[in-house]
């Protein structure tokens, strides 16, 4: 399922043992497909231990976003991995709060703090 206009839906960056997943388009069912595919390319190769969701580029998320986070969480948790998030705006915060996702995914103000916590095993 390739996007015809070639618009990037997600950027993935590696920082040591952490995969930083940066959705760049509203995290709905449509975008979720791209996030899942791109993130799993790296996760399934076993190149990373932890995941960091950076939501600073999006202002919208729905239950499809919850599904993507839960799915990726299940992939890393059994190998002792952790997940965290950063750059959460008001809209995304509401979804993460209502869904109770903060219980498994601590939130940090910025990428630096989140990376530090994941690498130090504090997340």
């Amino acid at each position: 399922m390739e996007e015809k206009n070639g618009k990037e839906q997600v950027i993935c960056e590696k920082d040591g043992q952490v995969l930083i997943i940066i959705p760049t388009s509203d995290l709905d069912h449509h975008c979720a497909t791209f996030v899942r595919k791109k993130a799993d390319e790296t996760i399934d190769r076993g190149e990373v231990a932890h995941l960091l969701f950076d939501f600073s580029k999006i202002r919208f998320m729905d239950s499809s976003g919850i599904g993507v986070i839960m799915g990726r969480y299940k992939k890393v948790i059994f190998q002792g991995g952790k997940i965290a998030c950063c750059g959460v705006g008001k809209e995304v915060d509401r979804i993460l709060t209502v869904s109770g996702l903060y219980r498994i995914m601590p939130c940090y103000p910025g990428r630096k703090e989140a990376l530090h916590a994941l690498k130090e095993g504090k997340a």
Binding site: D26, D28, H29, H30, A32, T33, R36, F60, D62, S63, S64, I66, G67, V68, M70, G71, K90, E91, R94, I95, V98, S99
Partner: protein, 178 residues
């Protein structure tokens, strides 16, 4: 006369009801209102494709803008529409071809949104509404769709008939601007 089942959810209370087709499950847009001046209504139809989800919620947000909603109210409406349309795409039509119809109406300080599909229908609406319940764990569906619609809107009504389709109706009061 074919039966449909319905559930109405308001302030945390859910009520089940049964109805017949003639009770308006497939009624034509404008039928209730007759396009009276005191009631403004629009409807759009679009293909059941995931790329149209963002279009649908933007239309709903833009339409509601007439009531001067807060950013939070707009955000709530966008989420609820997104959930309803996603359900129609994924569950109603199982990712296949189909048409989704969205109707929007304003009356005083309330927006009403209706999302209709002519897909497979829901076997048991109450069960489908349970948080975390999903028929598609393989697709990493979180099962939070109806829960979000309930949480972010004031009223949610779902009517469905197996093999015929589903109608989701939602209402939200918009606080008058200061």
């Amino acid at each position: 006369m074919e039966q449909f089942q319905g559930v109405i959810s308001r302030a945390g209370e859910r009520q089940v009801f049964m109805g017949e087709e003639s009770m308006g499950i497939w009624e034509e847009p404008g039928a209730e209102s007759g396009c009276k001046l005191e009631r403004n209504e629009v409807a759009i139809e679009f293909c059941a494709q995931s790329r149209n989800e963002s279009f649908a919620r933007m239309v709903a947000a833009a339409y509601t803008a007439q009531l001067n909603p807060t950013m939070e109210e707009i955000s709530d409406i966008k989420t609820a529409v997104s959930e309803a349309v996603t359900n129609a795409v994924i569950h109603g039509y199982s990712g296949g071809d189909g048409i989704i119809r969205m109707r929007l109406a304003l009356s005083e300080n309330e927006v009403q949104i209706e999302v209709t599909d002519h897909g497979v229908g829901i076997e048991n609406i109450l069960i489908a509404m349970e948080p975390m319940y999903t028929t598609r764990p393989d697709m990493e569906r979180s099962g939070m769709g109806f829960a979000f619609m309930e949480a972010f809107m004031d009223e949610l009504e779902v009517r469905s008939a197996l093999g015929r389709g589903t109608i989701v109706r939602m209402k939200k009061k918009i606080a008058p601007g200061v």
